[in-house]
Amino acid sequence: MSLKPEESLVLDAVRNNGRASIRDIAGKTGIAETTARDILHRLERTKVVRGYGADINPEALGIRTRTWLIVSMPDDDPERALEILHKDLGVERTCLLPDRPDCIGVWMSAASGARLAVKMATWAQHGLRVLEQHPLCGMENVGRKDLQEEDPETWFRLMRLEV
């Protein structure tokens, strides 16, 4: 579906500011408040906007390392291997890789690099081999004492909700 110009403006207003009030949206776009409200409701009703989330700082919840992985699947019982992978709370999300049908992509978080290594060793026992590893290093606040909460389980739970 193609959006009308006013719909695009409202969508852009909430894209990176999901809590923008109707008044904020109207002020930013120059659209009347009642019209802005109607447009936003229409975008939600038609599922162009599927919902809203919060951008939570993983470090505040004790996450010290995040990484993107390419993991090869075992030839025997790949479904069982996938089950094991998805039971791992540190797995934020996965994707199939159409160009590499024997592999999947994995966004992974862990409380430490050592814990990540242990997890990958466990996967290897089930035939899941990590072929590529790209550390995601947006962790600019490591070392900030006031952000160290050591509660990675909450992060893992929130990531499941986000997906």
């Binding site: 999901g18 919902g51 505040a60 995040r66």
Partner: protein, 173 residues
């Protein structure tokens, strides 16, 4: 005397984060009702978490495929030599279809997730809007639907245009 850092995230804070993850637009009063606490508590806790950088912002979850961008790719970008701060460059990536941009180490500076109309549209975006920011050489990897779909059912929903090849392969194996 040096004070111990104040613990920011007690149980109430964590429950607020959970409510906001489920619905980032949920009102203070609705969160207060769910948590059985006062509106002021919710508002104060949220402001404090925003100020401290625990909550970095809020976003809308947008169905890019409905907007004519069904192709989803990860684009691995190298920064031009001499570029010292790819994080600064990443700020220029607020472009239509760019879903996320994460700094990485190793041969690439950034991994960017992009939704595009098709491969030609993606390469056009990279050439005209991303390279001029100070990046060179991109590796593109197409992203299919979540692999978890294969666990949930033996006949996964074929909702994504570009994942059939992989779905068939893993399902058949």
């Amino acid at each position: 005397m040096k004070q111990a850092p104040e613990r920011a995230l007690d149980r109430t804070n964590l429950r607020i984060l959970e409510e906001l993850t489920k619905n980032g637009r949920k009102s203070y009063s609705d969160i207060a009702e769910t948590l059985n606490c006062s509106i002021n508590t919710v508002r104060d806790r949220m402001f404090a978490m925003e100020r401290r950088g625990v909550i970095r912002g809020y976003h809308a979850r947008i169905d890019e495929a409905m907007l004519g961008r069904p192709l989803r790719c990860l684009v691995f970008l190298e920064a031009e030599s001499g570029i010292q701060r790819p994080a600064e460059l990443a700020k220029g990536l607020q472009l239509p279809g760019v879903l996320s941009a994460e700094l990485t180490t190793g041969p690439y500076a950034l991994i960017v997730e992009i939704a595009a109309t098709d491969m030609a549209g993606l390469h056009d975006l990279i050439r005209t809007s991303i390279y001029p920011l100070g990046f060179r050489k991109a590796k593109v990897m197409q992203v299919g639907p979540p692999a978890s779909a294969l666990v949930a059912t033996s006949h996964p929903v074929q909702a994504f245009d570009h994942g059939e090849k992989a779905l068939v392969h893993v399902g058949d194996a």
